[in-house]
């Protein structure tokens, strides 16, 4: 807790919210598959992965609220902010499209977050973040393996699955660069020693993606128009639709609890 006392709230809270928003928004996207997955086993897998991400988001929101000290809790952060206040990267809010898009998005994110949590657990100066990270790291190792195996199966599968996977790479790869850019809030958290520089995770991510793409017969594309903006609150069109569903209960019935 030493860091929580010495670190300014202005530094830690926005950086923690970026992490939490990534988890919440991707968890919500996965939940949209409920009742629509191609097979029962994947129905369970997608819901389980969504639940892991939601659990990680909850722990981060609760801690951000505690640090902020203004009485905001998990629900306030998750349900009662406006679109511009969400600081998730654009990758996690991309639409599910088909199973290939969903699994590739999951691979991109898990290949980033598993070593990310590992580094936070090992090096963060903040005890609570180390604790959250130690759990999340193990969960993301499962996501990485599951998504990576599906990308290989589909990339190296039928003509149709290979074409869909290649489409997904073309569509989604341009959103991956944003994960490695530190926002001003993040740069402060890096300087304070509570979170690592995301750019330091780039080499390992490139290697992981290459390890999957080789047997999947996929090529890392040249990205001419890299997309960013989520960390500044500038989101794609799909984000408003996502929030409309995510926030519906709290907007329609303010203060409602289960």
């Amino acid at each position: 807790m030493a860091v929580a006392e010495t670190l300014s709230q202005d530094t830690a809270v926005p950086a923690i919210l970026e992490l939490a928003d990534d988890c919440l928004i991707l968890g919500h996207r996965l939940s949209e598959w409920c009742g629509h997955a191609p097979i029962l086993e994947e129905e369970l897998a997608l819901a389980n992965m969504g639940l892991d991400l939601l659990g990680q988001a909850r722990a981060l929101y609760a801690y951000a609220g505690e640090l902020e000290g203004k009485g905001r809790g998990e629900d306030d952060f998750a349900f009662l902010r406006r679109e511009r206040e969400y600081r998730n990267c654009l990758l996690v809010e991309r639409e599910n499209r088909d199973f290939a898009h969903t699994m590739l998005r999951q691979l991109y994110f898990a290949a980033f977050m598993q070593p990310h949590w590992h580094t936070i657990a090992a090096t963060s100066g903040d005890e609570t973040l180390r604790g959250i990270a130690a759990k999340a790291e193990k969960e993301m190792a499962y996501h990485l393996r599951h998504a990576g195996e599906w990308v290989i199966r589909m990339g190296d599968g039928t003509d149709e699955s290979a074409a869909r996977m290649a489409d997904a790479v073309t569509e989604l790869h341009r959103y991956t660069g944003e994960m490695f850019m530190a926002s001003p809030a993040r740069a402060d958290a890096v300087a304070a020693g509570i979170l690592p520089d995301p750019d330091s995770l780039r080499v390992e991510w490139d290697e992981t993606i290459a390890t999957v793409f080789r047997p999947a017969n996929l090529t890392v594309p040249d990205v001419r128009m890299p997309q960013k903006g989520g960390r500044d609150g500038i989101h794609g069109e799909g984000m408003g639709h996502l929030l409309a569903e995510l926030q519906f209960m709290q907007r329609a019935y303010p203060g409602q609890t289960w």
Partner: protein, 181 residues
């Protein structure tokens, strides 16, 4: 790692007159330890290693520490309420605290807990918990019914966050495997 929850409190040496032990604390540990897991009722919260400690605070209150298995485990609140109400039924008003550090691992499931899982039809975790594993790597999981190691993984994700789904190719039994984490 020691899977048994610790019990601490007033030591008998604190009382110079009689050899008093903290019977209420000992009973609280017994009661809390015997609460079954709501999703895997063949094992108790102590067997799973999610009951971390039962202690007495400086102010005299009994404090029970529990830890979740997975970040998003939906049974966390049910487990906390089950432990609290079991203690209340035994006349013990305890405070429940959720701890996440150190992170729970299947290494904490006791030997007795593993045997109870197997007898119930759930294959216990194999090996020690680790980090990332190779794509398509497979552990050999023995069928909890017939013991054959001729089994196949049906799904990495099973009926709850903590289990994967397997099938025995010898006796055809479908079964859950408690994932190693």
């Amino acid at each position: 790692m020691n899977p048994s929850p610790t019990i601490t409190g007033r030591k008998s040496s604190d009382s110079p007159v009689t050899n008093v032990t903290d019977f209420e604390l000992a009973r609280a540990l017994d009661v809390a330890s015997s609460v079954p897991d709501p999703e895997v009722p063949c094992v108790t919260v102590a067997d799973l290693g999610i009951l971390r400690s039962v202690t007495r605070n400086a102010d005299g209150a009994i404090l029970v520490r529990l830890t979740p298995t997975y970040s998003g485990c939906p049974a966390v609140i049910a487990i906390e309420m089950a432990v609290q109400s079991a203690l209340l039924s035994a006349g013990i008003d305890a405070k429940i605290e959720r701890v996440i550090t150190p992170a729970w691992t299947t290494d904490w499931i006791s030997a007795e807990g593993r045997e109870k899982l197997r007898a119930y039809g759930i294959a216990p975790p194999v090996g020690a918990s680790g980090g990332r594993r190779a794509f398509f790597s497979e552990d050999v999981i023995a069928c909890p019914r017939c013991g054959s190691s001729n089994t196949s993984k049906v799904s990495e994700f099973g009926s709850t966050a903590c289990k994967a789904h397997y099938r025995c190719d010898a006796c055809s039994e479908p079964f859950d495997y408690f994932k190693c984490i």
